[in-house]
């Protein structure tokens, strides 16, 4: 009994000590309290922006888990893998979820038998290839409508290419091995029909567990992104990125660290406009929503590290090549 209580006591005293430290810092170091409060504004801002999408994502995931049978899913998906990847890349037009909501929903769909390459193509393309993001990019780059078109096109192309490569190369289950996937791989008999109340209860259980599972990575990712945001000055970044050759790569790195939501990053990109060429801004706008600090942690929570690293490096290489090409032939 006492041994079980030990961790609880440890946690309570840690929180208590933290609170006391905070109070001391607040009273004796006025400046630090303001800094902490500003950190809080950005940190909570990022979390609140993502929260509705995260809840929507876990709700969809729970509904998929309880109501979508594997047979129905197989019927809905296009049979040919390349068609499936295409459909997945365009799915965001119908289901515009942001990546915080997408990852739990897709993880569940893959467990239900959706091919992983199609699921990953949706995760990569969905945050960009959707009407909300298209219109915000259009608005932010009012003078150059090519940006919105190039952004959507390149994001789809990168997601399609990665989906196709994964279709050819992915041999084993890319999901992290846990109890759930272990069970899912067992031959399944049709579960006995359960009353509505039971199903609802089961859906709510799944939704809350997944909220905690995904939420902890979201909080960690948001904290790291905020740390970067509040500690590093943007003009410093712009000076660093002055080199033309490296500016694409550099802005991709910035997009990764800033972890902005894909609906608002176009405005930030437009504000970099004075210091960077359009091609580099395009790389920022395509790579950031696909892979950033926040979504990388969410991906690592669901997929094997090898798969995540493969997907992230492919996305980086394709975005870089694509944005260079488009800068040469299409962008003003």
């Amino acid at each position: 009994m006492t041994r079980r209580l030990l961790p609880l006591l440890a946690a309570v005293s840690t929180i208590g000590a933290g609170a006391i430290l905070l109070l001391i810092a607040r009273r004796d170091m006025g400046l630090d309290a303001a800094a902490a409060s500003r950190f809080g504004s950005v940190f909570i801002g990022i979390l609140l922006e993502a929260l509705p999408y995260l809840l929507l994502g876990v709700a969809i995931s729970a509904v998929v888990q309880i109501y979508l049978s594997e047979r129905l899913l197989r019927r809905l998906l296009p049979r040919h893998p390349l068609l499936a990847v295409t459909a997945a890349g365009l799915l965001g037009i119908v289901f515009p979820l942001c990546e915080c909501g997408m990852i739990p929903a897709v993880r569940r769909l893959i467990r239900k038998g959706m091919p992983a390459y199609a699921g990953i193509a949706y995760i990569l393309a969905g945050p960009v290839v959707n009407p909300v993001v298209f219109s915000s990019t259009w608005a932010a780059f009012g003078g150059t409508p090519q940006m919105a078109i190039a952004r959507t096109g390149l994001a789809f192309a990168v997601a399609f290419a990665i989906g196709a490569i994964l279709w050819k190369t992915l041999k084993s289950d890319p999901l992290k091995a846990d109890l759930a996937s272990l069970y899912a791989s067992l031959p399944q008999e049709e579960p006995p029909a359960r009353p509505f109340g039971g199903r609802l209860q089961s859906a709510a259980l799944h939704a809350t567990d997944e909220f905690f599972d995904m939420g902890k990575y979201l909080i960690l990712g948001a904290a790291l992104a905020t740390l970067f945001q509040t500690a590093v000055s943007r003009s410093f970044l712009e000076e660093l990125g002055g080199n033309q050759l490296l500016s694409h790569l550099f802005l991709m790195g910035v997009a990764f660290l800033l972890s902005l939501c894909s609906t608002s990053d176009a405005f930030v990109a437009a504000s970099f406009g004075g210091s960077f060429e359009n091609g580099a801004l395009l790389a920022f706008l395509v790579f950031g929503p696909m892979i950033d600090l926040k979504s990388l942690l969410l991906l690592l929570a669901s997929f094997r590290a090898r798969t995540v690293l493969l997907v992230a490096s492919l996305a980086a290489v394709f975005t870089l090549t694509g944005s260079w090409l488009l800068e040469a032939v299409y962008l003003p």
Binding site: R4, P7, L8, A11, T14, G18, L22, A33, A34, S37, R38, G40, S41, V42, I44, G45, I46, L47, L48, E49, L51, P52, L55, A59, Q65, A139, F141, G142, G143, D178, L179, A180, Y183, P191, Q201, S202, A204, L205, H206, A207, T208, D209, F211, F212, G215, K216, I219, A225, T230, S233, R234, S235, E238, L260, C261, T263, S264, F267, S271, G274
Partner: protein, 285 residues
């Protein structure tokens, strides 16, 4: 501890965390302080999330009570997706992590200010830079030439130009300053009244500071600072981050070595910090 009691404890802890999150969101919405963290267009989503979290908290509490009585819902879910309740400090640390945002939310409100403007970089009202002015040949003769992207700015400029004093309104803050900047020549000599906080960057001198506001599109992570250079005889006495309402005349001048529209202050008075710390782009503009 008996396994049923341990399971009940975990359900109860989850319920408590969900309830705490929901109640703190409700508190933010009730006191009208959500605008410290997100744009008004996102508030509905957050309020609905608070409701959903509360419903889940009640549900988990009910599951906890049932588990206490030896009837664990997870055990008979049958989907195999629930591991045995992970006990120990790791799981408790996860619960504590979810309370972290609440702790930060309890800190006194300090909206973004001058120090953040230095970090995020300040923008002089920049419609001209973001929307290169390409006037249609037909419109060239007009005082406010426009193309398809600057049309709303030209219309706003025409309305503003007819006013004896431009009192920059909060809902159209960025749009108003952008319009004026786009047609600098036409607005030189015009009277304007503007509220913002004092910010100083490399271009600030003894007689000049920037009167600034933060524009947010979703949350403070994407905040951009906008500022108009103010020529003020008493500039030295203005504290950085102080909120001021400045009335004066617009002039074509130079700021930080670049041609810029500047405001020559005539009347300056201190202003209370505005209720909404940030300004937002009007989605209908």
């Amino acid at each position: 501890m008996a396994p049923t009691a341990l399971a009940a404890l975990h359900h109860a802890a989850k319920s408590a965390v969900l309830a705490a999150l929901s109640l703190s969101l409700t508190q933010l919405a009730r006191t009208g302080t959500l605008n410290r963290y997100i744009a008004p267009k996102l508030e509905l989503g957050v309020k609905l999330s608070a409701l959903a979290l509360f419903a889940l908290a009640v549900f988990r509490l009910w599951i906890a009570l049932r588990a206490w009585q030896g009837d664990d819902a997870e055990a008979d879910c049958g989907c195999g997706a629930h591991g045995p309740a992970a006990a120990g400090p790791r799981q408790l640390a996860v619960y504590a992590m979810f309370l972290l945002p609440i702790v930060f939310g309890l800190l006194p409100a300090v909206p973004l200010g001058s120090a953040d403007a230095a970090r995020a970089g300040i923008h002089l009202p920049g419609a001209a830079a973001e929307h290169p002015q390409r006037s249609d040949t037909a419109a060239d003769a007009e005082a406010f030439p426009f193309d398809e992207f600057t049309r709303p700015y030209a219309e706003l400029a025409r309305r503003l130009h007819a006013l004896p004093l431009i009192d920059v309104p909060e809902p159209l803050y960025i749009e108003t300053l952008s319009s004026i900047d786009l047609y600098r020549k036409a607005f030189a000599g015009h009277r304007i009244r503007l509220t913002g906080f004092v910010h100083r960057d490399s271009g600030a001198t003894d007689g000049v500071y920037l009167l600034s506001r933060f524009a947010v599109s979703c949350c403070p992570a994407d905040a951009r600072a906008y500022g108009l250079p103010v020529l003020d005889a008493q500039a030295k006495q203005r504290r950085t981050d102080e909120w001021l309402t400045v009335e004066g005349v617009l002039e074509e001048g130079v700021y930080d070595g670049q041609p810029a529209l500047v405001l020559r202050a005539e009347q300056t008075r201190s202003a209370p910090p505005p209720a909404s710390p940030y300004v937002y782009l009007d989605p209908d503009f």
